[in-house]
């Protein structure tokens, strides 16, 4: 079914015999594959190694360059201890909880809207759906000034709600869930309705429980939207107490000195959580992102 086969088709004409030209060709392939992998891994390997290295040595091994830059030979947890003393642990925990809250509330709001679009006919449906698509095409950063002024007027600067509420309604996820629910068998909905279930009950106990792929992918997207955000928290919640993880990383850049090892320790911790989430759920994420595009 996949076009991966194309290269197999090409190379499998002459079975059994070792062809030096073919061998050279597949050797070249591996060289390209490895070179790209090195380019991708370079900053991550250095970042991990340097975060476990004392500050002076991080400069020393980078310039002049030494292989010790990639292996923490002078292993220490200094950098991690320093950032946790400054409250990095708090930032990690806060951002994680913010992410979970955004996923749960945002997920409910977006899927219920998607449910309404996919299962009902009602006056104004086309207009409202158009509005969802319209907001999808407006990049959020372009409308940041009025949104910021609004938050300021409400007295929401340095509050949790300023970080969560604007991210809850996500037009991409509304669109994605309405597409997903369209495939849901109508008979199941009808059967529940005949049994006297309310629409709210149909949505919660019939539709949502069998929408695992949708829920996983929207969970990933909403969580990452919160975990990765930097610009918005910088504007609305810069105080130490509310500092989200992406902002907390840059605290190691100070006026007279940048603490490379601490900057890298924070960065690696901020990177590890999305990596751990995306590796097992890769397929769902890809299907969600790519599936949304095909429509």
């Amino acid at each position: 079914m996949t076009s991966n086969e194309l290269f197999k088709i090409n190379t499998s004409n002459k079975k059994g015999r070792i062809n030096p030209k073919k061998l050279l060709y597949s050797g070249a392939k591996y060289i390209v594959l490895v070179l790209i992998a090195i380019l991708v891994l370079l900053p991550l390997l250095w970042g991990i190694a340097a975060s476990f290295t004392p500050l002076e040595k991080t400069y020393e091994y980078a310039y002049p360059f030494s292989w010790k830059a990639f292996i923490p030979v002078d292993f220490t947890l200094d950098a991690y201890e320093a950032i946790f003393e400054r409250g990095f642990g708090n930032s990690l925990l806060n951002t994680f909880l913010l992410g979970i809250i955004t996923v749960v509330i945002g997920g409910l709001i977006c899927t219920s809207a998607g449910f309404a679009f996919s299962r009902f006919d009602f006056p104004g449906k086309k207009l409202l759906f158009f509005i969802v698509l319209l907001t999808f095409t407006i990049p959020g950063d372009l409308t940041v000034i009025p949104r910021f002024i609004m938050i300021k007027d409400w007295g929401w600067i340095n509050t949790w709600q300023a970080l969560v509420v604007p991210l809850l309604a996500n037009s991409f996820i509304i669109f994605m869930s309405s597409q997903f629910f369209k495939e849901f068998p109508q008979e199941l909905v009808d059967a529940a309705r005949v049994d006297g279930a309310s629409w709210l009950r149909v949505y919660f106990s019939v539709v949502l429980p069998v929408s695992k792929p949708l829920l996983i992918s929207l969970g990933l997207i909403l969580f990452l939207s919160q975990w990765d955000s930097y610009f918005w928290p910088l504007l609305v919640a810069p105080d130490q107490q509310f500092r989200v993880v992406q902002l907390a990383i840059t605290e190691s850049v100070q006026e007279y000195q940048t603490f490379w090892n601490e900057l890298l320790a924070g960065s690696m911790l901020a990177a590890i959580i999305p990596i751990l989430l995306l590796i097992p759920f890769q397929k769902y994420f890809i299907n969600a992102v790519v599936g949304g595009v095909k429509e």
């Binding site: 290269f7 594959l33 409202l128 907001t135 372009l142 604007p166 309604a169 990765d228 992406q246 990383i249």
Partner: protein
């Protein structure tokens, strides 16, 4: 299940989402347009004054704006086609049928999970002019060291390289799924007709992927158009405004100098440019059908 009489049910399901979209997305968009036509009154507390297109005129006469527009144009013309082509290349490499390709593919997709902020922080240290790892490596193999972010001739290109570390794998994600979806029959037919690999790519794979290539190009253009974090963390627009993208200039005016009027004008201009890009995309897509 079409309901005959009016029922409030769908509206109740929709209400939270639609209300939030109105407040946080639609209203701010309209307000940005509106703000661009007003000026702050000199008197404190007085209502803003309607100045029609005066703000626009002021911006159009501003050399800093034109400089940042030029930088943004150059940046877009290099970054987006380059990322699209390399992402397609990476996708084709990552779908090769060789042993262990799954591991390579997982490695290639790692940057997708790393936030742009983290990518920029780590690369920013690596390209440090005086003590960075990259200059250390160049020095080691006897190549001349580079100024990177501290040179007005190199800063923008260095930023393009850094964001592409994440950008190329991100867009490759879309191409990998698309390449895997190409029907084998199309490829077999071409091979039977004696096509070589280059012909396979240009006559079969690229035409089949055309809609998705177009999508990636446009989506990449729009996303990079509002690029902000790398500039803020690495160069603050410098040196000598050489990396001062329009989005960063709007931030500087709006939030550092407090000039929300001219910031809104620039955002409105950017919005119009994006609408034009989307319009062109739709035209190109229609042409095909």
């Amino acid at each position: 299940m079409k309901t005959q009489k009016f029922s409030p049910t769908p509206y109740l399901f929709l209400a939270p989402a639609i209300i939030l979209l109105f407040i946080f997305n639609l209203f701010p968009a309209v307000a940005t347009f509106q703000q661009s036509l007003f000026a702050e009154s000199a008197r404190r507390g007085a209502d803003p004054i309607f100045v029609r297109f005066e703000n626009f005129m002021r911006i159009f006469q501003d050399p800093v704006f034109w400089k940042s527009a030029k930088v943004t144009l150059l940046f877009s013309l290099i970054t987006n086609p380059m990322q699209t082509v390399l992402a397609l290349g990476l996708a084709l490499i990552a779908t090769q049928k060789v042993k262990g390709i799954g591991i390579f593919r997982s490695i290639y997709l790692l940057p997708v999970a790393v936030s742009i902020n983290v990518a920029v922080v780590v690369w920013g240290l690596m390209v440090d002019t005086n003590a960075g790892l990259i200059n250390g490596m160049l020095n080691q193999i006897g190549l001349p060291e580079q100024a990177f972010l501290t040179s007005p001739d190199q800063a923008l290109y260095t930023i393009i390289m850094i964001i592409s570390w994440k950008g190329i794998p991100y867009w490759a994600l879309f191409f990998i799924a698309a390449v895997q979806g190409i029907p084998v029959s199309a490829i077999e037919a071409a091979l039977i007709d004696g096509a070589n690999k280059w012909q396979l790519l240009t006559r079969i794979i690229i035409p089949i992927l055309r809609p998705i290539i177009l999508f990636v190009l446009v989506a990449d253009t729009i996303i990079n158009f509002t690029l902000f974090v790398p500039i803020q963390l690495l160069t603050q627009g410098g040196p000598q405004l050489s990396s001062n993208l329009v989005m960063y200039e709007t931030y500087r005016r709006g939030f550092i100098y407090g000039d929300l009027g001219s910031s809104s004008v620039m955002l409105t201009i950017m919005f119009i440019v994006i609408l034009i890009v989307i319009g062109i995309q739709n035209l190109l897509l229609r042409e095909r059908n």
